[in-house]
């Protein structure tokens, strides 16, 4: 048993810390919110140069073969620096997914090099957060497929050069079997994107797919076997999102601590009031417990045993779903008036953590999945 990080992991973290907290910062965050798609292409190229985009990809495909724990060392600083670039949606999730599908290396190379941006379209209005629920259909048609369906809240879709879409080639609406994955050009006829900004920053789109024709080469992996890699890749993305949320939680803890020490009311620092002291202690404990869950899920998500992976990731997301809300709410409350404005970064962290609660499976979804997955 060993909870320490390797030298490489420490270096990754240092580099990401520098990128996020020195190079980025609140001003850059706000200016990025003014850009189309909330995306800053110079930063994306920088991430490619730093090797982060290729980090989750296997070495055979020109990646660095990084572990989920390696990735977490990037994501936590990105969270504490409120970096808006879609690292998880456009690199971690599609990177893991393509790797697990053993997709052709061209796509992976574009991902690692930063030339392409990706989005994975799996959620549907009635899927209730379960990737096995897929009503989008891909009908075999000649040497290709015709897709029809409706995808919801596809993160980064408005910026994507390639969409990866789950669609059913066989089976019933709720079957894990029969789901296939397709790489699709977002400009294709038959695709209608309704883009919108997401609470906390970043863009997503709802997508209507109407009689979209693709060739057989659009399929990633083998027909009907898309669920297993999708489920695993989503778990990787979820673990990474937890690491990112941890970064934001810790930033809020630090800012609130400083504020309690600095801000005076009734002629003394408000941090001298016992109720506020205990509140900060509660926040501190939640951050430490969340850190444990991030470590745990970042390691266990690599398990070859799907049940181990799922329980670990669901436990972490369920825990952080609650802890992050508590920490964010208390950070705002303890900052008082200034906490509910856009002037301070506190309110922006608050919104990002609120969104985190609903992305990659809510607490309720993950509690259900956790309970439904046998432990041994």
């Amino acid at each position: 048993m060993d909870f320490s990080y390797s030298q490489e992991q420490k270096m990754l973290r240092e580099s990401a810390d520098k990128f996020a907290n020195k190079g980025y910062g609140f001003e850059r965050y706000k200016s990025t919110l003014e850009l189309p798609g909330h995306c800053d292409s110079t930063l994306w190229s920088q991430m490619a140069e730093l090797g982060w985009l290729g980090l989750p990809l296997p070495e055979e495909a020109g990646g660095l073969g990084g572990s989920a724990l390696d990735v977490s060392q990037i994501c936590e600083p990105l969270g504490s620096g409120m970096v808006l670039e879609p690292y998880i949606a456009s690199a971690v999730l599609p990177g893991r997914l393509l790797s697990l599908c053993e997709a052709d290396t061209d796509l992976l190379g574009e991902l690692a090099g930063g030339e392409a941006q990706f989005a994975v379209a799996w959620a549907e209005p009635d899927s209730r957060e379960d990737p096995a629920c897929c009503t989008t259909r891909a009908q075999a048609d000649g040497d290709g497929y015709v897709l029809s369906g409706h995808k919801q809240c596809v993160l980064n879709a408005p910026n994507a050069t390639t969409l990866i879409v789950s669609a059913r080639t066989s089976g019933g609406d709720h079957d894990a079997d029969g789901i296939s994955l397709f790489a699709i050009d977002p400009q294709s006829a038959g695709l209608a994107l309704r883009p919108y900004p997401v609470m906390g920053g970043g863009y997503a789109a709802d997508i209507r797919i109407d009689q979209l024709r693709v060739g057989a080469d659009a399929m990633i992996g083998s027909a009907g076997n898309g669920f297993a890699p999708l489920d695993a890749a989503l778990d990787h993305a979820t673990a990474a999102a937890c690491a990112q949320a941890l970064g934001a939680m810790n930033a809020l803890l630090e800012r609130t601590r400083e504020y309690l020490r600095m801000r005076k009311q009734f002629d003394k620092p408000i941090g001298s009031f016992q109720v506020l002291q205990h509140r900060l202690v509660d926040m501190f404990i939640e951050v430490e417990q969340s850190r444990s869950m991030v470590m745990m899920s970042s390691v266990r998500v690599e398990s070859a045993e799907p049940a181990v992976r799922r329980r670990a990731v669901s436990a972490a997301k369920a825990y952080l779903g609650q802890a992050s809300k508590f920490v964010a709410q208390q950070a705002v409350q303890l900052h008082g008036g200034i906490g509910v404005t856009e002037e301070l970064d506190v309110g922006h962290y608050f919104r990002q953590l609120s969104a985190f609660g609903s992305l990659y499976g809510s607490r309720e979804y993950h509690l259900r999945r956790f309970a439904a997955t046998p432990s041994e």
Binding site: A123, P125, D126, R128, E129, Q152, C153, Y196, P197, V198, M199, G200, A204, K264, Q265, F266, D267, F273, V275, L276, K325, Q329, V332, Q333, G336, G337, G339, V340, T341, E342, E343, G347, H348, F350, R351, S354, A355, G357, S358, L359, S362, R363, E364
Partner: protein
């Protein structure tokens, strides 16, 4: 003991309900529960003013309908259940009672009728950057020069200052002595030279709040309410005045009702016992708050001061508003994530939920944080 409204009050309720049904315009009913545009809000308030119902807590002599406390409660309940926003409280519930008690005849004549008609809009100049929970340490100075006060300082968290014609301000007229003393209550025309407004965007993404900078603002001495140095007494009077609708029970019933409907329409959520249980706990908590509120109303209606049961109304009321909006957001799932979407989407409960959730974080902060409220209660319990 009798928990039902009298037949007269029930008839009154039917009348108000019918009027609301016919008169609340669709675009005013802010299903997201946060103030809408200035024009729609003002049009709605003037409509109420024309009916004589805007200053619904006021006696007839000042342009109110002269209703009993119970009728006022019923009116506010029906307003909320119809999905209409509360009216701006600054003229109505804050300045109005202050002028009626501390204002001179000229001040009453000048300022009260336009409030009751919805023609003049007020904002409140209390908080300052260094004086939040510790309001008494405010620094804005008013120095008398012949028949004017010259006001210099800065106010913050000034809700709808950018909509307002006037601001009522706490200012320091005497810098010596204990900080609660030397504070006075001034009425200031927002058009006076030297007033500058800087917007503050809140975490719901909207502009409700402002900073107000006052530089050599000349205020006629007749705009002083009460005596010089009486400002703290007046401010405290205000804080304890409004108890019968502070809990926001009806607004919470409205929001919970909308959530109930949205859940019932959803084939998955409506079949989930965990969701059913969550809604039930919220509704039970809301009932407890409602009947506690009614106990206070009963006392006020009988001319008694609110009892100890009223102490928790604001704390529990805001906690419940926050919990309901959190449930709306969480049950909305991915559907609640789009940010500041077009108006047509806002009218589904889930689409507006995130903004409401964000907006309502302020509810446990303004008007004295819930922590300050508990300090006050602890004193009442003689700890």
């Amino acid at each position: 003991m009798n928990l039902d409204f009298s037949p007269e009050d029930q008839a009154f309720r039917a009348e108000v309900r019918a009027w609301m049904r016919d008169n609340v315009p669709q675009q005013v009913g802010p299903s997201i529960g946060i103030p809408s545009h200035k024009e729609t809000q003002f049009a709605w308030e003037r409509k109420l003013g024309a009916k004589g119902w805007l200053a619904y807590t006021w006696p007839k002599e000042y342009g109110g309908p002269g209703w009993t406390a119970t009728q006022q409660y019923i009116f506010d309940t029906e307003r909320a259940l119809a999905g209409a926003p509360p009216c701006g409280p600054f003229g109505l519930s804050m300045l109005g009672p202050v002028l009626m008690r501390y204002g001179n005849e000229a001040q009453k004549q000048r300022y009260l009728p336009p409030i009751a008609r919805g023609e003049e809009f007020w904002c409140q100049g209390y908080s300052e950057p260094g004086a939040g929970s510790d309001l008494a340490s405010l620094k804005t100075r008013a120095v008398r020069e012949e028949d004017h006060y010259i006001v210099n300082g800065q106010k913050i968290w000034t809700t709808q200052a950018h909509w307002a014609d006037f601001i009522f301000c706490l200012v320091r007229t005497n810098p010596d002595g204990p900080k609660q003393q030397g504070i006075s209550f001034l009425l200031i025309d927002m058009a006076t030279p030297g007033i500058e407004i800087r917007p503050i965007t809140t975490i719901d993404g909207h502009h409700h709040l402002n900073e107000v900078f006052l530089t050599d603002v000349r205020v006629p001495v007749e705009n002083l309410v009460g005596e010089e140095g009486e400002g703290w007494t007046i401010a405290k009077y205000l804080l304890t005045h409004e108890r019968t609708s502070i809990a926001g029970v009806a607004d919470s019933y409205y929001q919970l009702g909308r959530l109930h409907e949205a859940v019932a329409d959803d084939p998955v959520l409506s079949q989930d016992p965990v969701v059913t249980r969550r809604l039930a706990t919220l509704e039970v908590d809301l009932m407890a708050l409602e009947y506690t509120n009614l106990r206070t109303l009963d006392r006020v209606a009988k001319g008694q001061p609110p009892g100890s049961e009223s102490s928790g109304l604001k704390i529990k009321g805001t906690e419940l508003q926050q919990a309901i909006s959190e449930a709306q957001m969480e049950l909305g799932g991915l559907g609640a994530l789009p940010w500041l979407t077009a108006a047509e989407d806002v009218h589904t409960v889930f689409a507006g939920a995130t903004q409401r959730y964000n907006f309502l974080r302020a509810s446990s902060i303004y008007g004295g944080t819930n922590e300050i409220q508990k300090n006050v209660l602890a004193k009442l319990l003689q700890l």
